[in-house]
Symmetry: D2
Subunit: 142 residues, 4 copies
């Protein structure tokens, strides 16, 4: 996958608390970073996750697939290239490439479902959110 | 403080994800273990935290004081000796001694306040909970 | 996949710290539980992860694939059915089914590579570990 | 304590993964943020924690005291006002005030000891680090 295909990038710095006794970032920390990248994406393009919740929706994570290409170390600055794709009904998907100085550290995707915040029942991604994401993804790549 | 003064003990095993690049358990992990010990204490003596929430209460953590005497390592089996004390109005306090094979690894306390679950306003610890905790603390030490 | 195909099961109880503002267990917590299940598996069948490290090996996580079928809540008791398979050279794989009262909460797999602890270079899974895992997986299912 | 007394401030944004089922940031997350503030402080004034480790030292956390004045919520931008004080032999201390829009969310301190990285024995804070911290703390307050 070409890096230029990603509509968005978010940077994080590996925290000491995120390392483990192997001296590298623990693999579960990546899921937290991907979530932070999604939140930053929503902030940038859609009015933010808080807005989505206020409108009565919640987005659940229904799956994760991640491949770790090399280790990340304490204090590494990681660039999480992110795009949202595959909106269909209540479902959508984010794809990622985590890079350090252009080198791929990990890549993969997460899948999600929109639910009604009160009932937790699946509900279509609202049209305004579909439109905001489509507009974001049709932009010239950043 | 004598170990025999503690009314309760809860055991945890240090997870690999809880270690850091110093090769020891990260100091923030202790707060999660103390919370697990409080939950186990409430299960044992009061009908459980879920019951407290169902009754319309929430317990907030308002303070923490912890001194680390020595490092804990991956896979260490830690015994968290725990007692609840100082109930007054909406406030109460837990004290702890974290031990490994009888050696003190850390000790300290956390402070808490009971709030109404809906309003998050401070509200007196309910009488039934005061009674359950008093009964637990007056038992012969385990 | 039939539950009877899993050679091992490990139980965890969802911690309060593992929940998030959606009121359910955060999806990243599952990776920590799967790791705890792997550690317990190694304790049971191979002499433990500490032994593997003492022998000069380290096991890296190279990938994760997990599908969340339903939410887990605070205090839920989850049974993580686990098996190790696909040992080939330096690589192996664990498969999981996370259950609550027989209901599938999540399922998936993680992939791993054995490395030399000093150099972090890939190195074949040692024969004694292959043998221990083979013996575990050929047992009648528990 | 006056805010103007703090030599440094570091900002963090509350992650979704750091919230819990009470709908607020979990109290253990604060320890991770304080650590991130210390790392940023060392980056700014002393050449960074990595440099300290390369010089053969490690800094252990020996204690924490934190009082939570009010809850922090998902996505809150928190300003962690930080100063280092009380260097004596191998020991030193950081003090903090966590603010949101000028409101105090939490305050407290952590205590630390410098150890030899290889032996984990206490060892005096090296003179160059004492000097760097003294210079930082004698600056006009930021």
């Amino acid at each position: 996958v070409e890096g230029s295909d990603f509509s968005f990038a978010h940077e994080i710095r590996v925290r000491f608390a995120e390392t483990d006794a192997q001296g590298i970032a623990h693999h579960a920390a990546f899921l937290v970073w991907l979530e932070e990248a999604r939140i930053a994406y929503l902030d940038r393009f859609t009015g933010g996750y808080e807005h989505i919740r206020e409108e009565g929706y919640e987005a659940l994570t229904t799956g994760v697939h991640l491949e770790y290409q090399c280790a990340a170390a304490f204090h590494d600055l990681l660039r999480i290239r992110t795009r949202c794709c595959g909106l269909r009904g209540a479902r959508f998907r984010y794809e990622y490439r985590v890079e350090r100085d252009g080198e791929v550290v990990a890549d993969g995707y997460t899948t999600h479902a929109t639910v009604d915040r009160a009932t937790h029942r699946p509900t279509r991604v609202p049209a305004w959110l579909v439109d905001a994401i489509s507009a974001a993804e049709e932009r010239p790549a950043s």
